[in-house]
Amino acid sequence: MLLYVLKRLAMTILVIAVTSVVAFLLVHLSGDPAAAMAGEGASAADIAAVRETFGFNRPIIVQYLDWLGRVLQGEFGRSYYLRMDVGEVLAERMPVTATLGVAALSFALLLSIPLGVAAALKPNTLIDRFALWLAVAGQALPSFLFALGLMYVFGVYFRILPISGGTSWVHFIMPSIALGYYATPAIMRLTRSGMMDVLQSDHVRTARAYGLSPWRVVIRHGLRHAIVPVVSLAAVQLGFMLGGSIIIESIFSLKGIGYLAWESIQRADIEVIQAILLVIATAYAVLTLLADLLNAALDPRIRIS
């Protein structure tokens, strides 16, 4: 088991390293970073000055290694626009996005898992068809549309929820739903199919044969097994949500790193963009690692090998 953990850890580090290279190249080789940062209407002299200051004239490898060195020491550079240390800005905005992500995932799990279990217990009935229909509908609705729809219904029409800002937990309700529902179809389907399989298994038959209460059979002996792949999926979905937060945060004016990314892209604030790409990629890689480890811990069969 320890060997497995170490191997996965090493792989994760490698992935993060290579991803950082790819991200760096993408940012620095897309057009001219100096011209982008200097902005429209900047003179050639201005652009040259920016290039000089930020060292964009150096070979790309040197730029990368320099950046990498700084990052490994905890220095993410300076925001050109905000005139602040990037690390500080990120630390400021991170909690909002983290909260949004967790809330969104919680919403998705709270909705999909019970629905998946119910659908598996009564296949081809009303609840099953409803669950599957919900999944299909969920996949067809883009998050920005859903967000606008929620805003209209709850923010404008019924006026019971705020449509922007992030000062209280109420502000997170609509954004969480808008961000989280997209993971719902996948989680629901996986739970449903996993439950349907496990309910046919021999050990569930044994549990029933010993007169255990239906709740025990379904949850302790059924869901306990079916949920294992769902954990991995949930972690991966959380990673996707971090990437999708940019849209939701922009619509709801939540000051998280997604919104920061959006603002920085518009302002061509290279250092910030770079840092955010790294942070999100790292978060995704770590989440995937956690998912695999949780999988191994929960699945008794993997423990054996």
């Binding site: 992935v15 991200a23 993408l26 897309s30 509908a137 996949q139 549309l145 209209y152 404008v156 518009q266």
Partner: protein, 298 residues
């Protein structure tokens, strides 16, 4: 004995493709999805015939005319006009063109990349598989929306770039599914048989492997088509996708965002079109999947 050969060969039994098509035809969702999709495609193709208006023509004297079903609406502008007086129906129809065009072109690119990688990984295994798996992992670790936004913002927005960026980003699922399908096929007898009779590798790939992965390939293509169209809509919504004077449904929603309070139909119309298109694609994809999965086969 010679007389046997003089007779015409017996009628060929239906190929798996024909069987699949027949079974798809009986699938309700195939028809619903297919019809909606066909309608949208035809509407896009025949846009100039369906609306006499130019989608980019601004007429500030005709701003914010509501659709025909409300009080001040008129048949002149069936779906009303937007903030710059442009006919909404025309914009909707031409927007369909953009969505479909971008969608199909991007999956052509991502499908090719993904299939090539997937077949290589699944057929040769070993190092090729390891490396390609690693590449896929890297791709998955990068947040798609963010990367697309960054590249488009820094390079400059054009339709070609948009198609390239999305196409170069959405190949991961293709690779994964094709790899898995190829792995299963590569172990089967007819591939071993082909190798035994000395077929060259490209021949095997083209004649044995590729025809047999079309099922899963179509299913993934439908998923990724929907994904590409949604991504373009999201990018356009954020202002970094399709640029005016070109039309995109995502762009229409963005421009109508400020009207959420007073004129929600301006958001609802392109929104509904988008949802309908994705829904139809998903239905068709689901039908193809149900028809081509092994348990479903007779």
């Amino acid at each position: 004995m010679a007389t046997v050969f003089k007779q015409p060969p017996p009628k060929m039994t239906l190929s798996p493709a024909r069987v699949a098509l027949r079974r798809a035809a009986r699938h309700g969702s195939f028809w619903v999805g297919g019809t909606i999709l066909a309608v949208i495609i035809l509407a896009a193709i025949f846009a100039p015939l369906l609306s006499a208006h130019d989608p980019a023509l601004q007429d500030l004297s005709q701003r914010y005319i509501p659709p025909v079903w409300s009080e001040d609406g008129s048949w002149e502008h069936i779906l009303g006009t937007d903030n710059l007086g442009r006919d909404y129906l025309a914009r909707l129809l031409y927007g369909a063109r953009v969505s479909l065009l971008i969608g199909f072109l991007t999956i052509l690119i991502s499908g090719t990349i993904g299939t090539v990688l997937g077949v290589a990984a699944g057929y040769w295994g070993g190092w090729a598989d390891l490396i390609i798996n690693f590449v896929v992992t890297i791709r998955l670790t990068l947040p798609v929306v963010l990367v697309a936004l960054v590249v488009v913002a820094l390079v400059g927005s054009s339709l070609t770039l948009l198609i390239l960026v999305i196409g170069l980003l959405l190949w991961d699922r293709f690779a994964i599914v094709v790899r898995s399908a190829t792995q299963q096929l590569a172990q089967r007898e007819f591939v071993t048989a082909a190798r035994t009779i000395g077929s060259s590798t490209p021949r095997i790939l083209f004649r044995e492997i590729l025809p047999n992965i079309t099922g899963p390939l179509i299913v993934v293509a439908s998923i990724e088509l929907a994904h590409a169209i949604l991504l373009e809509a999201a990018l356009s919504f954020l202002g970094l996708g399709v640029q005016p004077p070109q039309v995109s449904w995502g762009l229409m929603v963005a421009e109508a965002k400020s009207q959420l309070l007073f004129r929600p139909w301006m958001i609802a119309v392109p929104g509904a079109a988008l949802v309908l298109l994705i829904f139809a694609i998903n239905l068709v994809g689901d039908a193809v999947r149900d028809v081509t999965t092994p348990e479903g086969k007779a």
